[in-house]
């Protein structure tokens, strides 16, 4: 089954982290992306780079910033192809954000006949 592993990280604690630690954490994220169960894995630029788009009555509205401002922001994702939810949950538990004050959400993808 395919799952999206959505990473919500807490930037307030991330900013306070020394460089060496940050590099080690990035290494962990990259290693997870190389894991056999990961089909894809991407990191997003920080929320300050986001632009939110809405269309109201045919008019396009742009807002500087992310769709929602919370302490944890959507920072990246992995796509997994694994046997079942247990395997996806085990992978998610290894994502650094899960233990660093953030959270990791596991969502199954809608399966469509190819």
């Amino acid at each position: 089954m395919k799952y999206a592993v959505l990473i919500y990280s807490d930037e307030t604690t991330a900013a306070a982290r020394p460089d060496a630690e940050r590099i080690a954490i990035t290494g962990e994220y990259m290693a997870l992306a190389q894991a056999p169960e990961a089909v894809a894995g991407e990191q997003l630029q920080p929320p300050t780079t986001a632009t939110t788009v809405r269309v109201a009555d045919g008019t396009v509205l742009h807002t500087d910033g992310p769709f929602s401002t919370t302490k944890e922001h959507f920072a990246g994702f992995y796509l997994l192809d694994v046997e079942d939810l247990d395997a996806a949950l085990a992978f998610a538990a290894k994502v650094p954000a899960a233990r660093l004050g953030g959270a990791v959400e596991v969502r199954p993808l809608v399966e469509r006949p190819s």
């Binding site: 046997e83 079942d84 939810l85 247990d86 996806a88 199954p108």
Partner: protein, 341 residues
């Protein structure tokens, strides 16, 4: 080529079994049947059909499901209770219970919650959830719904039989049996009777002996977990002359393991018997901050204050307990205490 083809067949086969399992979950009659090759149903008493109750238990008690959904699914799938009966036991409208079950079953399907016994490295963590669900059902039953308590004991028996090497399964079963054996004596004319005042001839000696046997076997297997500890306490408490210092020690051990203030309160009750009410009251008063909304804290304080001759303080404590009591037999019991009975 051949391997790729085999892999595809394997995949299909796996998908089909998973679908069969979720259909099993959706069935109107519970557990005693399993799907056969033709898509029909065969009864479980045929030895050739693998026992799937353990897989079912772990699926129903999967940590990805909310606690109330775990309880509802376990009861619906592994006991003879209907959705209406479960709804009644948990005081929710049948429609609510039906939705809860439907939602849980569709999450099992859509999220790919597996139908299997967890691997060794996950087993104790996952088993803890199963044990907690069964014990929760038992406690719900202990408050008056006898059917739930009976079903919980049955589930505990199934679990202990299917996972005999996990001492905590025996611990939980022994704990439930030792409490369940006294169910007839807990109420007299619809009124709640404390352990010390219970009619011992109304105790089910056979069930007590079984409970103690199961407990001993669990201890022999090295069981020192929280359910084994609680069962050991339950066994000591119903002795004719309980060994209160030993009971207080076991509660102390349980308190260290669980960090639970409710366990600390129970230890205080044992200390009252071994060291007297003054020592116990000091412990109970230390818990007032954490347990102010807990009826048994105030009921225990009331008992201790009364033993110390502080009638006015005792009445205030029983009054506070009465404010917090929701179940009618408990309310009546506290009113009698308030009246000095």
């Amino acid at each position: 080529m051949a391997t790729a083809r085999n892999r595809a067949i394997d995949r299909l086969r796996r998908a089909r079994t998973l679908r069969d399992k979720t259909e099993l979950l959706a069935r109107e009659t519970p557990l005693a049947a399993a799907p056969d090759d033709e898509g029909g149903w065969v009864l479980d008493d045929d030895a050739s059909v693998p026992d799937e109750r353990l897989e079912l238990l772990f699926t129903c008690c999967h940590p990805a499901l909310a606690s109330e959904a775990q309880v509802a699914l376990t009861l619906r799938t592994l006991t003879g209770l209907t959705t209406e009966q479960i709804a009644r036991a948990f005081l929710v409208p049948p429609e609510t219970m039906k939705r809860r079950l439907t939602r849980a079953k569709s999450k099992i399907r859509a999220a790919g919650i597996p139908f299997r016994v967890p691997a060794a490295e996950q087993l104790s963590e996952r088993l803890a959830v199963v044990l907690a669900v069964i014990y929760l059902v038992f406690n719900e039953g202990y408050g008056g719904h006898d059917t739930l308590a009976t079903e919980a004991v049955r589930l505990g028996e199934v679990l202990a039989e299917l996972l005999p090497d996990e001492p905590e399964t025996g611990g939980l079963l022994a704990l439930m049996l030792l409490h369940h054996a006294r169910r007839e004596a807990r109420f007299a004319d619809g009124e709640l009777v404390l352990l010390a005042d219970q009619d011992r001839t109304a105790w089910d000696d056979e069930t007590i002996a079984r409970g103690r046997g199961v407990l001993e076997a669990a201890i022999e297997r090295g069981g020192r977990g929280t359910y084994v500890l609680q069962a050991a306490i339950a066994s000591l408490e119903i002795a004719e002359h309980p060994d209160w210092p030993q009971i207080a020690t076991l509660y102390g051990e349980l308190e260290r393991r669980t960090g639970s203030p409710v366990v600390a309160l129970n230890r205080a009750a044992a200390v009252a018997e071994s060291d007297g009410p003054a020592a116990a009251l000091a412990l109970v008063d230390g818990l007032r901050g954490e347990l102010d909304g807990y009826l048994y804290l105030h009921a225990t304080r009331g008992e201790l204050l009364r033993r110390l001759g502080r009638e006015a303080d005792a009445a205030a404590a029983f009054g506070r307990a009465l404010e917090l009591a929701e179940r009618e037999p408990e309310r009546r019991f506290l009113r009698r205490r308030l009246a000095g009975g």
